[in-house]
Symmetry: C2
């Protein structure tokens, strides 16, 4: 179940990308499953086909799905495997400014551990 907020300052294609990622984390989408076609999903969500297409390509660039032209988008992410070096480096790049912000607020390393733990729980709640 995907819910988009067109009023959000977060672009639609990023909202969609993140929600698909979280669905995979929850196990609602598993390795080998195929995503709906860009036209079908765009129709369901009431947004443009190209916006969905952009989300799919975001996921493909991260190595999470594989888009096979005229076939469909297949999930290849495997939560049991270890992250690739490139994926790890991209994570660090995204994480660093947020961690710096937390530190300047006075968060300790232990605070971060607790924060991460609660976020993971939140993501894994179904019907999120």
């Amino acid at each position: 179940m995907v819910i988009l907020d067109s009023e959000s300052n977060v672009p639609l294609y990023l909202q969609l990308r993140t929600q698909i990622i979280e669905s995979i984390v929850r196990g609602e989408l598993a390795k080998g499953d195929t995503l709906p076609s860009v036209r079908a999903l765009a129709g369901d969500l009431g947004i443009n086909m190209h916006t969905v297409n952009k989300s799919y390509h975001e996921l493909e660039s991260k190595g999470i799905i594989k888009i096979v032209p005229k076939k469909g988008a297949v999930i290849i992410a495997d939560a049991k495997k270890h992250a690739l070096k490139q994926q790890y480096e991209n994570l660090v790049e995204d994480l660093r400014p947020v961690v710096a912000e937390g530190l300047v607020y006075g968060l300790s390393e232990a605070d971060f551990q607790q924060l991460i733990s609660s976020i993971i729980s939140k993501i894994k709640e179904e019907s999120s």
Copy 2:
């Protein structure tokens, strides 16, 4: 010492904002210190005054500095104090999509702890 990359896909005002935050975390800037004037810093960095101004207002909206018109920008962040509720919630909002991405790559909670730890070390290295 601030170094900006005009080729980066990260906006200049966000690069500057993050580097000021990291300087505070490292202790190079302390509570009560004043930042250079927007004109002076813009001149040093070779960018426009308004870009620096935008960074300062970003920092003020996060409660990290206080801008006093005709006076200067004073650092009010105190790493010894605990984060405010609003600051905490903003952190969660920024962190969630990145954590979800890490999970889909197969990172465990322990992996995240190690990752955070290494990022904190990296931020605290002087001459970063």
